[in-house]
Each structure stands twice: as structure tokens, then as C-alpha cells.
């Protein structure tokens, strides 16, 4: 057990070093959500009338979750890029724990994502959003955000290891941008036409967003929504655990085999 921790920590260190040497990509992926937050908040938000609520305060938790969902993209891209590198052959020929390479990558992504939360939160606060759910709510909200990020990254790692090329991974990764668009992250789902609303509410992003809004005290869950959104904290935890239960073993197997 301690072997996998030591090995994963070494791999985590490798990814953090790479981010330090080539900061452009991590900085870009941290900056884009801020640009989107400002853009959505002030360009779309100015035309948006939400009865009894402030759209910008509604948007901030959505953007936090949409950013967490980016873990799919970064996980996929990094794994696809790595799988074509000679260094993977060296890892495979070393006496290290089989799961340490993907686990170290996911852990490094989590560290970077947690650091990236800070500027996004500051911009959110400047836009008038506040955490109103107390210390426990805040802790729970961040916990759910990071748990979902971790799960999304593992899903990305699995897809990245399965994809044939870096280019394919890049394109597929770009498509994950659509995920929060079809959820309650940017807009309430109750205005959507029937079938679309069902799809949006069963989107894991919706449950996680509703959970974060609930825990931060920004909005109460919609009781007439689909189960994961109506019971958002349980829904978000379930979605994340299901993703992890499926993706972790498959990704580790994929890594060992390929």
C-alpha cells in the first residue's frame, strides 16, 4: 500500500514540475473560466432577468462546477500525450505499482485545480457572489467540487488512454465543453422543453451544481426536478463515486495493458 503512495507522489511531482516548466497550458486552463465568468456574467447576464435572484450569484457556482468538469479535458489530453511518450515505456519497465501513473496524474491535476479555484473565487466574490451556507456548507461545497474534479479527471484519463492520438483526444476534449451547456450550470433547467430538461437534469454537472449551490446557500434544490438534482448532495456524491468506480479500474487496466 505504501508503495503506491510513494510511486504516485513521485509521478505527481513529475506533473507539477512539467506545469512549472511549461506554465502556459495550466495558466490558460485556469484563465478561461474567469474570462467565461466575466463574459457570461456581464454580456449575457445583462440581458438575463431572473425573478427573485441575481444571475451573477447564480452563475458563479455553475462556473465552478463547469471548471471542475474540465478535468475530463485535461485528464484526457495529458494521458493521450503521455501515452505516446517514451517515458511511459520506462515507467512500465520499472518495478512500480501499476496504478501509480494514472493516480499520480489525477492527484497532480487535483492540486492544480484546487490552486486554480482561488482566482476564480476572488473574481466571483468581486461580482457580488457570497458563500451563505456557513463554514460547514463551504467545506462541503469545496469537498464536492474537488471530488467531482477528481472523478472527471479519471474519466478523462480513461478516454485519453483509449484514444488513438493526441489530436483525437484534443478534439474529443473540446467537446466536453458542451457538458455544462446542457445542464443547470449557466441557466435554470425549468425553462427547457420536456425531453431536453430530463437530459439536462440527469447530466452529472447539474447534480453537482445544485449541490454546490445548496451547500454554499445560493439556492435551494428544485424539488420537482429529477432525483439527482432534487437530492443534489446525495446525487453529486453518487455520480462522482459511480464515475470513479467505473473509470479507475478501467483506466488502470488500460494503462497496464497498452
Amino acid at each position: 500500500m505504501s508503495a503506491i503512495i510513494l510511486d504516485s507522489t513521485a509521478v505527481l511531482g513529475r506533473h507539477l514540475l512539467r506545469m512549472r516548466h511549461a506554465p502556459a497550458i495550466p495558466v490558460m486552463t485556469q484563465t478561461m473560466p474567469i474570462v467565461f465568468l466575466l463574459f457570461f456574467g456581464y454580456v449575457f447576464g445583462s440581458a438575463m432577468a431572473m425573478p427573485g435572484a441575481d444571475y451573477r450569484a447564480f452563475l458563479v457556482p455553475g462556473m465552478l462546477v463547469a471548471t471542475a468538469a474540465n478535468g475530463i479535458m485535461t485528464g484526457m489530453f495529458t494521458a493521450a500525450q503521455d501515452s505516446h511518450r517514451g517515458v511511459m515505456d520506462r515507467f512500465r519497465s520499472l518495478p512500480m505499482s501499476r496504478g501509480a501513473v494514472p493516480l499520480g496524474q489525477a492527484a497532480a491535476d487535483l492540486v492544480a485545480a484546487a490552486a486554480g479555484l482561488v482566482p476564480l473565487l476572488l473574481v466571483g466574490l468581486a461580482m457580488g457572489w457570497r458563500i451563505e451556507g456557513g463554514a460547514l456548507g463551504a467545506l462541503g461545497g469545496f469537498g464536492i467540487l474537488l471530488l467531482f474534479r477528481f472523478a472527471a479527471t479519471w474519466a478523462g484519463i480513461l478516454l485519453g488512454l483509449a484514444s488513438r492520438s493526441e489530436e483525437a483526444a484534443g478534439q474529443l476534449g473540446g467537446a466536453t465543453f458542451m457538458l455544462p451547456l446542457l445542464s443547470n450550470a449557466y441557466l435554470p433547467t425549468d425553462g427547457l422543453p420536456g425531453a431536453l430538461r430530463t437530459v439536462a437534469e440527469w447530466n452529472p454537472v447539474s447534480a453537482v451544481t445544485a449541490a454546490v449551490r445548496d451547500l454554499f446557500g445560493n439556492a435551494t434544490p428544485a424539488t420537482d426536478a429529477a432525483w439527482p438534482v432534487a437530492h443534489p448532495v446525495a446525487g453529486a456524491v453518487c455520480w462522482s463515486l459511480v464515475l470513479l468506480a467505473v473509470c479507475v479500474p478501467l483506466a488502470v487496466r488500460r494503462y497496464t495493458r497498452s
Binding site: A10, L17, G86, V87, S93
Partner: protein, 314 residues
């Protein structure tokens, strides 16, 4: 068996789709020796190394590496081997020093060894530069250093000098020689006959996924005897010279009109240089130069497989 052989494989087979990369490869590398696996592109060299280093599984066959069964205990094998791949297996985004420290951490080796290895491979000045900025030779040296963090019992080198300039090639050769002096067993693959000739105690020729011949470089050369070559004064005398060679060696001479030379291989141990010259003189051939020399491995390969290495490698 396991005490005398560092690598012992029997009947290794591997198929990629329709391609049978290995068709029953048998290898035996004695401890403390350098074995060169020599063959053209596509002969199965890299597949063999990838199997023996646990990177891929064979479809059939078995192998013991450093005393452990490849299938039953790949982890034990991994603890005892070093691998230097055909393409540098280091992380280009990390510096040379960071690469070695990372691998040292994964091997639970003291990180101080990294500095020592960088020094030994002449990379101290480049230690803090990203490995992707290294020249081909430097990358390969870093790769070799990474393969030596824990002194491996068996070191696998897959075409360690392919694409390197002569200077870098010599540096790699020196490093390999130094290692074998320290007792490491080395299995290297190469397309360069000169490399096998210079480094190896034993050479295995492989072709079509199977070992076709093996022995010391000298034994392989002895298999086809000596190479007799004469250079004549006048091009017109070439047929006469060829006739003498044909009669003396019993093998068909190869003519080179431009160099005005004729050559043929011979396994006749009684054929000496004076006798060759006397016979040519008696036939009225004006000889400028004549020689009997051991064949190059190129000639060995041509003779044994019926095809020249270069043609296959093209």
C-alpha cells in the same frame, strides 16, 4: 541453468494482427557477457526486447530473465533489469537532473546517485536544461544513465546507437564496455554489424522472428571462412583472375570493374596468400594487390541469409 544464463528464452512467439513478429525465438545470454541481437529492420529485435523487459506479453513461449520467470514474476524481473529504448525513454519536459531524480525516487534509490550519473555521462553542464533541448547523443546518454540508476543485473539496449553520429556512438560503446567490466550482462540489438563486432561476446542473427545463427563474431566469420580479394593492373585481366579464384575457392567470385577487383569467400584453410599469388602469376594475371582477410559481418549476413543487410534494412 538460471545461474549461468542471465537471459534464457524458449520459443517466444508474438503476433501483431497478421504480422508474425516472433516465430519461436530462442535466446541464451550467459551472465556477464554482451550479446548482440543482429538483424535487419522488421526482424523482431524490438519485439524481443519489449517482451524480455515485460512491456508486452508473448503469445507463446517462456523466458527467464535475471533468474525470474517473465510470466510468473514480471515484478521481480523489473527490479533487476535496466532498459534503454530505441527512442529515448526520458521525459523531454523535465531537465536531465529531474528525470534521474524521478526515476531514482521510483526505484527507492538515493537521489545523490543522479549527480554522479550525470557526471559520468558528461551531462553535468546540461543537467538543468529540459531534456528535449538535448542533442540525440545527449538524450541517449541520459537514457543510458536512467537505465543504470540501480545497477541492473541485465541491461537491455534496443538499438542504442541508431541515428547517432560516430562520436556519440563511441561514447555509448565506451559506456557499455565499462558496464560489462563491472559485471552487468548486456543484451543489445543492432542493425550495425560493426557494433556487434566491437561490443559483443556472442552474436545472434535473427531473421523473420527467429534466431538463424549464433556464436562469437569469430565463429560466425569462421562459418564462411576467409575472403580472398585481388586487384589487377588491367581490367581486361579480371575474367582470368576470377577463373583462378573460382578454381581455388570453389565459390563464385564477385567482380568490381571499377576497382578492378575480384573477390570470393573460401573455407579452404590451406589457401595461403603466397599460393594465391603464385597461382595468379602462373595464369599470367598482373596482380597489384591481393589479400586474405576475415569477412565482415556484412558478408557473413549475406552468406548466411542469402540477402544483404542493407537491402533488407532499406
Amino acid at each position: 541453468m538460471t545461474t549461468t544464463y542471465a537471459v534464457l528464452s524458449e520459443g517466444l512467439e508474438k503476433r501483431f494482427g497478421d504480422v508474425r513478429a516472433l516465430r519461436g525465438l530462442d535466446l541464451a545470454v550467459a551472465r556477464g557477457t554482451v550479446c548482440a541481437v543482429l538483424g535487419p529492420n522488421g526482424a523482431g529485435k524490438t519485439t524481443a526486447v519489449r517482451i524480455l523487459t515485460t512491456l508486452i506479453r508473448p503469445d507463446a513461449g517462456s523466458a527467464m530473465v535475471a533468474g525470474h520467470d517473465l510470466r510468473r514474476d514480471p515484478a521481480a524481473v523489473r527490479r533487476r533489469i535496466g532498459v534503454v529504448g530505441q527512442y529515448a525513454s526520458v521525459d523531454g519536459d523535465l531537465t536531465g537532473a529531474e528525470n534521474l531524480r524521478l526515476f531514482a525516487r521510483l526505484l527507492r534509490a538515493p537521489r545523490t546517485g543522479a549527480a554522479e550519473l550525470l557526471e559520468r555521462f558528461g551531462l553535468t553542464d546540461a543537467a538543468d536544461r529540459p531534456a528535449r533541448t538535448y542533442s540525440g547523443g545527449m538524450r541517449r546518454r541520459l537514457d543510458l544513465a536512467a537505465g543504470l540508476i540501480t545497477r541492473p543485473e541485465v541491461l537491455f539496449l534496443d538499438e542504442p546507437t541508431t541515428g547517432l553520429d560516430p562520436h556519440s556512438r563511441n561514447e555509448i560503446w565506451d559506456a557499455v564496455r565499462q558496464l560489462t567490466e563491472e559485471g552487468t550482462t548486456v543484451l543489445l540489438t543492432t542493425q550495425y554489424l560493426e557494433e556487434a563486432d566491437r561490443l559483443a561476446d556472442d552474436v545472434v542473427l535473427i531473421d523473420g522472428g527467429r534466431a538463424t545463427h549464433n556464436g562469437t563474431p569469430a565463429e560466425l566469420k569462421a562459418l564462411i571462412g576467409n575472403y580472398a580479394e585481388v586487384v589487377v593492373l588491367d581490367r581486361a585481366a579480371l575474367p582470368a583472375a576470377a577463373a583462378v579464384l573460382d578454381q581455388l575457392t570453389g565459390s563464385e567470385p564477385v567482380l568490381d570493374a571499377e576497382r578492378r577487383s575480384a573477390g570470393a569467400v573460401t573455407t579452404d584453410a590451406t589457401l595461403t596468400l603466397p599460393r594465391l599469388v603464385r597461382e595468379l602469376d602462373a595464369a599470367g594475371v598482373a596482380v597489384l594487390d591481393a589479400g586474405l582477410r576475415p569477412p565482415t559481418l556484412d558478408e557473413v549476413f549475406l552468406r548466411l541469409t542469402g540477402r544483404p543487410v542493407k537491402e533488407l534494412a532499406a
